[in-house]
């Protein structure tokens, strides 16, 4: 199969990065912040209790042993327990994550669509007013802090559109009668739109830039001239030859932006009180619930690594020139 070693290389890289992330996580939390137990505050948390707990959790052993223990736990899916609720970190994070995923996906879709449309438009009408307006507009949005944009949207737009600005569901739903699945879905979507829109607006600028320059470069290529020489219309040339080639960098960009997407999502969820993993993180920060933070960081890092790998492989599949 073509390029098996490319695939192997990429997967290997991903795995190594996972280990680096895990180790980094460990170093940050265990070695430098004091261990989880000393931060415990509860009525029965006397020094003796803490010593006992330490022993239980293996915190009295050497750092290296702790590391292996940590990795071993991870491999079994054990991310530790929340300091506040004593619930397993994994289950505490899983529910909010289920809320965040669709919102982030929707937001990314918005940004890709906005970005591609403006990028193509700018490239098509290069040098004209449309080009400049498109660029400036997208750059302006890109320069806005997501939380601030969220606040602005709540302030000026939400009311006009009649969309809810907090939570993920209408609390009155289901009180008087069981709502249909459709109603529930619509309700969820309505709550998701504004946060996703904010995310989309903040991110699309980068896509516009990339699509535009990629498109310009593609349009200057000889095979585009050939296509026109064959008699294809402007539109057909763009669609059949320009777009596909110009889109390749977009895929890479999505992967590279993931870190930023997640980060932006965190602050946006805070603003919209959207019960996702971002909000969970904020609360954990507030309460100094380090295991949750640690677990969330790992989770987010893993997903970014995973999507990077997926993008690499996708790009590989789409561009036959990549063999490395």
């Amino acid at each position: 199969m073509r390029g098996t070693d490319y695939v192997v290389k990429r997967v290997f890289f991903a795995v190594v990065t996972v280990f680096v992330a895990v180790t980094l996580n460990f170093i940050l939390f265990r070695t430098l912040s004091g261990d989880a137990v000393s931060a415990l505050r509860c009525r029965q948390c006397t020094p003796q209790f803490k010593a006992y707990e330490r022993k239980q959790l293996g915190l009295d052993q050497s750092k290296l042993k702790q590391y292996w223990l940590y990795v071993d736990n991870l491999a079994h899916g054990d991310l530790g327990r929340s300091l506040r609720t004593q619930e397993p970190v994994w289950s505490t994070l899983w529910d909010p994550l289920k809320n965040t995923m669709p919102m982030v996906i929707l937001g990314t879709l918005f940004s890709i669509v906005f970005g591609v449309i403006t990028g193509v438009m700018c490239a098509w009408r290069r040098g004209t007013g449309t080009d400049k307006a498109g660029l400036w507009g997208s750059l302006a949005f890109y320069s806005m802090p997501p939380q601030w944009l969220g606040l602005m949207i709540v302030l000026f737009v939400a009311g006009a559109l009649g969309l809810p600005t907090s939570g993920i569901k209408d609390p009155t739903l289901g009180i008087l009668s069981t709502p249909s699945t459709w109603t529930v879905i619509v309700d969820r979507l309505r709550h998701m739109v504004l946060p996703a829109l904010t995310l989309g607006l903040v991110l699309y600028g980068e896509y516009t830039l990339i699509v535009r320059s990629s498109m310009l470069e593609t349009l200057g290529e000889d095979y585009v001239l050939t296509a026109r020489a064959k008699g294809l219309s402007n539109w057909a040339t763009v669609w059949k030859h320009g777009l596909r080639n110009a889109m390749l960098p977009v895929i890479t960009l999505v992967a590279l932006s993931l870190g930023f997407i997640i980060g932006g999502a965190i602050t946006i969820e805070y603003v919209f009180s959207y019960p996702g993993i971002g909000l969970e993180i904020v609360e954990a920060i507030d309460q100094r619930d380090y295991p949750i933070l640690q677990g969330a960081f790992l989770l987010l890092t893993f997903s970014v690594i995973f999507f990077n790998l997926a993008a690499d492989l996708l790009y590989f599949k789409l561009d036959p020139r990549v063999t490395e």
Partner: protein, 334 residues
Amino acid sequence: MSGLLEVEDLHVWFDLPHQRELHVVQGVSFGVDRGERLGLVGESGCGKTTTILALMGLLPPTASVAGRVMLDGEDVLTRGERSLAPRRWKDVSMVFQGAMNAFNPVRRVGEQLVEPMELHGIAGGQMAERRAGELLERVGIPAARARSYPHEFSGGMRQRAAIAMALACNPKLLLADEPTTALDVMVQAQILELLIALANDLGLALILVTHDLPVVAQTCTAAAVMYAGEIVETGPMDALYHGPKHPYTRLLFAATPDLESRDVVVSIPGAPPRLDEAIAGCPFRPRCDRAISRCGVERPRLLQVGHDHEAACHVAERATEPLASGGAGLAGEA
């Protein structure tokens, strides 16, 4: 004279910053008949590529054009895109300079051959694919390679594939821009022979643009020599080869030591004039070894200097010295 292609007084300008212009093609006229092979010769920058791009209406928006381009009697320039687009590839097709890049790297070669066929309704689906395979075979590439991607072909193969692609819709006229530059010697010879064979077999008219004299001498039945945007000499290959009248043509042939050695770079001391300023007198004068006083004052026009043979030179008007040149065979009539 009515022929397949008649170009009358073609001018092309390119916009420059600060309201200036580059007068790249300055009143070029020529014609090609079915089965004829015309060579368009000159140094880089003399306007030959721009000329043939203009024939297909493929100039960028910074260009302005004047003149007439008659394809089968119809003026395609003034009729505009609506008249040009359906003719592209069907009546006139092109093999670009550096055909390496003429192919879209992310699609298979066969697909790209099929594309114009389907676009112009020549063939579709399976039939088109079969035809693509046949075209490839004709240029010496196994039909099975239609499934390959462009980067999997060697340079020479890509050039041949580009020729095959250009023939996809049975054009009447093929424009070939430097089809053999950047190819090694052996491959060059193959490509040229291929072009001649195709022209003969298919009754194809060919315009071959190049700066490489031996290529033209071998392949073409007639030639037009361009300098600084103008045609300075034109006529049957024989006449040009044995009796060039314009000093530039003479120097071109003389600067090439031997037809056998593929010395691609033709070098004459000096450089071509700038095209953004008006020139007094003959543009070749600074580099000419035969200039007379009249050359600095009056622009020479294309005048008859032999049968079907024209040259734009004051000196040629008077002189009739033949120039003997030995060398290998020329391309004669079919």
